[in-house]
């Protein structure tokens, strides 16, 4: 999301490549050959990525079961989703709650751990490696392990809770319409906090030491140092972390699908899983396509809002 600085392209203005006498004709030949190098990638990308994305928008205006010809129904799908679909409303609420929990806690925790592990010591390097570890696993593997941990009768979490006398907290983590979504968010946070912590560490290392030294001279407490130095200086990193976490939380198809499949009773279904089941379990392809248009809109809107609020301050 961040770093390509097209303005700083090396030699954008001074392209005298090679001998310095490259004529326009030579440039044109160069460009033609360069275009040939771009072509294969472009072709695959356009045919298998951009084209489906575009035709998805087209399908969104049709009623279609995936087999017969799509029937054009204008904005029908879009209005139905907003006015006459309780499941969509519920899923939207789930998605907001899930994303909100993940964005807030994952960002806060990764910042906290980054501050704790900023100094490079042997312990902190070990802990960074450990915290990052879940990132390399597949969502399906993570889902299966956590299904076991959350298992109500014999699962590790409830076993531990009971052994320390907290029987009342030993809940049915994956079978409840109220807490399962939170259990999923917890797993997602467990899964990716280490990755975002590494992003934060890279960001915090850019903050000049002198700022802290000056703050210490002024007798600033740890909290004041955080409030007046770390937080404002890390805002650009926070923007990156939040933007990525947002997209990640909207994309959490693999984890939700493998862990609960959206259940019980749609209480953990988020937009991506609803799109999948609407299309491939209910065969309402047109309607599912319109939901994915909403999804794109949400992501664009959220990213835009975050950029505005986090950038203007800095």
């Amino acid at each position: 999301m961040t770093t390509i600085d097209t303005g700083a392209r090396k030699g954008a203005g001074t392209r005298s490549r090679g001998t310095g006498k490259s004529s326009t004709a030579l440039k044109r030949i160069h460009d033609r050959r360069l275009a040939l190098m771009i072509l294969p990638a472009l072709l695959i990308y356009v045919v298998f990525y951009l084209y489906p994305t575009a035709s998805n928008f087209r399908y969104a205006f049709t009623e279609w079961d995936g087999f017969l010809e799509p029937k054009y129904i204008g904005l029908g799908n879009f209005t139905r989703a907003l006015t006459n679909d309780d499941i969509f409303r519920r899923v939207l609420g789930n998605n907001v709650e899930f994303s909100f929990l993940v964005i807030i806690f994952q960002t806060a925790l990764s910042l906290l751990f980054a501050i704790f592990l900023l100094k490079t010591t042997r312990t902190s390097v070990f802990l960074r490696t450990l915290y990052f570890f879940p990132t390399i696993l597949s969502s399906v593997s993570v889902a299966m392990v956590w299904q076991f941990l959350y298992e109500p009768n014999l699962g590790a979490i409830n076993t531990i809770l009971r052994s320390i006398g907290l029987d009342s907290l030993a809940l049915s983590w994956l079978g409840s319409e109220t807490i399962t979504l939170r259990a999923l968010a917890f797993t997602q946070i467990w899964f990716h906090t280490g990755q975002m912590m590494v992003v934060y560490i890279a960001g915090l290392q850019q903050i000049p030491r002198e700022l802290y030294e000056a703050a210490e001279v002024d007798g600033a407490s740890r909290w004041q140092q955080f409030k007046n130095v770390t937080w404002p200086m890390a805002l650009p990193t926070t923007a990156v972390v939040m933007a990525y976490t947002t997209i990640q939380s909207f994309r959490a198809f693999d984890l939700v699908f493998a862990m609960t499949g959206g259940g019980p009773n749609n209480s953990t279904s988020i937009l991506v899983t609803m799109i999948y089941s609407t299309a491939f379990a209910e065969y309402r392809f047109g309607y599912a396509a319109s939901l994915s248009v909403y999804l794109v809109l949400f992501i664009v809107l959220l990213t835009w809002v975050q950029r505005r609020t986090l950038r203007t301050k800095y």
Binding site: M1, P40, L137
Partner: protein, 271 residues
């Protein structure tokens, strides 16, 4: 004081939150299912390889493993080749279409692939690419090209012209410059992208789920879902399958922690 204690507490807690599940799984693969259920946290009473034996004798997991290996390596190699060629082209082009092309690729970063699954399914059906491994490779390549082009273009744009001049091959065509100057220089960036691609392709569930239904073509994450159905709540077997599916990434991570962290973070931040 308060700071120090809460720091130690928080760090230990999160460390345990990762170590304990890992140990439960690793030990679990050497236990009987009954033992997994009754004493999930303890060492195996008697270490047994029965779970691994049963899993491997079933034979399917080796097929799934092979499919994952084929699809992942083909996707990574193809994406790297196509993306580095294209990025070099974009970075070195004189005229303005380079910027347009880059924007076109960047578009793919803002639109998550999951939103176009319906159209992808439809397209693959009409091209007879459902239930083929090369179809899976194609969608992997297409969906990871944006991020790869993005990272590599940024890198190629940083190579100063002088380096091409110093190579002493004036008048050499772009492909020659790509091969003998840009490519050798880009090894670290390519490595980072390669690791990123390896991890996401190996772990992906969505596209295999969408495109593959035939059992002998399934990749590991997809097969894991079947195993769960089959072994119901036989967690020692499920853990063993999870272990086999994760082992290649875990070994690579332990061997090259730094490059892994760098590669996956680059992919994350720029994605």
């Amino acid at each position: 004081m308060f700071y120090r204690i809460s720091r130690i507490f928080a760090l230990t807690f999160f460390a345990a939150l990762i170590i304990v599940p890992v140990l439960v799984v690793v030990f679990g693969t050497f236990k009987t299912d009954l033992e997994v259920m009754t004493k999930p946290l303890s060492l195996p009473e008697r270490w047994t390889l029965d779970n691994y034996r049963t899993l491997l004798e079933g034979g399917r997991i080796t097929t799934n493993f092979r499919n994952s290996a084929i699809v992942t390596s083909a996707s990574v190699v193809l994406t790297l080749a196509l993306a580095s060629l294209a990025s070099f082209g974009i970075a070195r082009m004189f005229n303005k279409s380079a910027k347009v092309l880059l924007t076109l690729f960047l578009l793919g970063l803002t639109i998550p692939g999951a939103t176009s699954i319906i159209a992808i399914y439809q397209l693959f059906q009409s091209l007879n690419l459902l239930n083929t491994l090369h179809g899976l490779v194609l969608i992997n390549v297409a969906s990871t090209l944006p991020i790869s082009v993005f990272i590599l273009t940024a890198f190629f744009q940083q190579i100063p012209n002088e380096l091409y001049e110093a190579a002493g091959i004036d008048g050499a065509g772009p492909f020659r410059l790509y091969r003998s100057v840009a490519l050798p220089l880009s090894r670290p960036s390519m490595g980072a992208v390669a690791i990123f691609l390896f991890v996401i392709n190996w772990n992906d569930l969505l596209y295999p789920l969408l495109l593959i239904t035939q059992a002998d073509l399934k990749t590991l994450p997809l097969a894991l879902l079947d195993f769960r159905g089959e072994y119901a709540i036989n967690f020692s077997m499920i853990f063993t399958a999870v272990m086999v599916a994760s082992l290649p990434m875990v070994i690579m991570y332990l061997l090259m922690q730094r490059s892994f962290v760098a590669g996956l973070t680059a992919g994350a931040v720029k994605g």
